[in-house]
Symmetry: C2
Subunit: 413 residues, 2 copies
């Protein structure tokens, strides 16, 4: 029996997370399937931002560094992220960008394996990870990069006794492929290597168990599934066992053991604080704080269950409703092996996505031929999955996308 819209409505009626949709502002007439790139606006964010601007800044002025907790914001928000990624208290700090934080932990990890000169990553990594690794090793002597790639080296082949650090995306930004964090971390450790996990497409999409997996370091952004707003600060995780030996070169005064002593020499703070650099971009924390008020009430097991069911449903409906239009599912077929997004190949994927967006179904596109659809369990409904596939079928069957072939390229991540 094919799935019907009525069944999707029933799924929504039975969805224990359905009420969270009310916590978000969503534009009229839009089916938003790009929360894996920029999450939607939490309803409480505008008021929290206004409070920071008008009360903390406008009235409190400089006094808010103490009185409004500004100085401790990176650790205070870090403590709230920790349970979402399976970290303990004192292992997470929120500051700077994912790229900058990757530079910190990658360089720190290299310092913990000074006698090894090979670094490993994947050709399919989000490129900024590769670029930041290149920037760091470019300052140092004699490092060699080994890339895992389809048709090339496997993870098992790439990691041996020469490897200092492995940097991997837990969920692939294009296909949504999910790595086995526990197994790969164990493999790396068996060879004496350390692993940095990029959780950009993981945090808020599925439960992560950094501690249970014995992860070494991790970074990730807060503006995708975590709904922190455009350019909200990134998180950085360093396992407690590594912190006191780890040295990171972006050694600004907020990472100093005694920042207000204003000494001429750097002495890193104990613990996770040494991974801070300088004055936090405070206003960019405010919406994230409102979003974390929502996240505190989310059961991550239910979140993952809904995510799996929505992505399964999307794949099923694409095959049921859009057969014969040249689509190919590029994401893993087994829900166990993917995050909360589905990528679909089409030779004219770019204009097809343009046509979808023109009709209110917002996903995005990655060259050369991938359409990405993200399913954020807190505010996407099963009927949205149904409706998106219907619009996709309409665009393909009428060839409406032919008009969109020459429109400007979508620039988003």
């Amino acid at each position: 029996m094919p799935t019907t819209r009525a069944q999707c409505e029933q799924y929504d009626a039975d969805d224990p997370l359905a009420f969270f949709r009310e916590e978000f502002v969503l534009p009229e007439g839009v089916t938003y399937l790009d929360g894996n790139s920029l999450g939607a606006l939490p309803r409480g964010a505008a008021a929290r931002v206004a409070e920071m601007v008008e009360t903390e800044w406008g009235q409190g002025l400089i006094r808010s560094w103490n009185d409004a907790g500004w100085f401790d914001k990176p650790s205070a928000v870090g403590e709230r992220i920790a349970p979402l990624i399976g970290a303990e208290a004192g292992e997470v700090v929120v500051c700077d960008s994912t790229s900058v934080n990757l530079f910190k932990v990658f360089t720190a990890a290299l310092g913990l394996r000074p006698d090894r000169k090979v670094v490993v990553s994947e050709a399919s990594s989000f490129p900024t990870d590769l670029y930041m690794m290149e920037g760091a090793t470019g300052l140092l002597d004699g490092y060699q990069r080994r890339l895992i790639a389809e048709g090339g080296l496997t993870v098992e082949q790439a990691i041996d006794e020469d490897v200092a650090v492995v940097v991997l995306s837990h969920v692939d930004y294009r296909t949504g492929r999910l790595h086995d964090m526990a197994a790969i971390t164990e493999l790396a450790h068996r060879h004496g290597a350390l692993v940095v996990w990029d959780l950009c497409h993981t945090a808020g999409a599925l439960p992560v168990r950094l501690g249970a997996c014995r992860a070494d370091f991790a970074v990730g952004c807060t503006y995708k599934y975590l709904n922190g707003g455009p350019g909200s600060p990134a998180f950085l995780y360093a396992a407690a066992r590594h912190q006191d030996a780890a040295e990171q070169p972006l050694s600004g005064w907020h990472g100093h053991a005694d920042p207000f002593a204003f000494t001429t020499d750097y002495r890193p703070a104990d613990g996770i604080t040494r991974f801070r650099c300088s004055t936090p971009h405070l206003l960019s924390y405010a919406p994230l704080e409102a979003s974390l008020d929502v996240w505190e009430r989310v059961d991550l097991g239910l979140l993952r269950a809904k995510s799996r069911r929505m992505t399964d449903l999307f794949i099923e409906l694409v095959e049921q409703e859009c057969a014969g239009f040249g689509l190919e599912i590029a994401s893993p077929r087994a829900a166990d092996d993917r995050g909360s997004q589905v990528a679909v190949r089409h030779a004219d994927g770019y204009p097809v996505m343009r046509a979808l967006i023109d009709r209110g179904v917002i996903g995005d596109f990655r060259a050369p031929d991938l359409m990405r659809f993200g399913f954020t369990p807190l505010y996407v409904r099963y009927v949205d999955v149904w409706d998106a596939v219907q619009v996709l079928r309409e665009v393909l069957s009428t060839e409406a996308w032919r008009d969109a072939r020459h429109a400007g390229r979508s620039r988003v991540t």
Copy 2:
């Protein structure tokens, strides 16, 4: 004839910048002399922030990367900062923090002088500059640091043919001492060295002529005199002549020549864009944009004239009204030699400042004995200078500060 409050009122009545005060929100009962640490809230900021949150993010969602100009924000805001610091179009970008930007330009500058292994700075630098230099040279081989210090090396002694890069604060964060940018830059160039200027306490306090001084690189924050809000993004200047040879190691995807090609290898963009790293902290730009709407209308010559007159007046009034209480002016006496702040030493400076703050006169304190008072010409009045000194006299003459000795330490910059 001693100066009177009536005269200060007359100065305000004659002040051609007086009307700018209306552009700022200032709390009732506060004389705010800490705009050199965190500028006041521009009246237009809250609306601009709300627009970015509610319209650009809430309604535009991912589409705002193109439609609202998010992707180009660092260069668009950089173009607006350029005239305030004497830079040309294409020489300024706004992103990340001052510390992170210092790391970029310092490391890039070292790369332009590969055969030299000495770096020069001042013991009195704001410490994060020293710490970031230490972080960068710690990754590299064989660098030696030379510090200019009172009673030690002079600028002239420190800079010779071994020096690769000199990092100096244009205005000293404690005393307000102003360096001669043209003369020192020329001295360094004569010896083949490059100079990085830290403009944190300069931008928005006085006109800067980076181009005319043949400056190489500069960084600075936007949340002090520029009123961009707590943790607003920092600016980075690279002289056009250096850009194409300069390589900086925080080589994230927003600095790539073709960021949406998603290649595995880094290729820097032409021009100033290569100094960007990654996704900008967008919300933190919004108040700065509102502030720059004000700055566009400011005559920097008038600004400097008022700044000199206010700081002169403050010094004069402190000596006139507070003689015999153990105060010592720690800033240069000649207005030509200082920025827009005055530092005053007192053995019990910390509790004195606490007592001032309790009475609504907000400055700040730097160990061991410096009280700092900042004079922001856009919203501080001459009568504020008068009133602040009267409160200072009251605190000192009644020894009211004795009660404040054990209060918590103010943690601000």
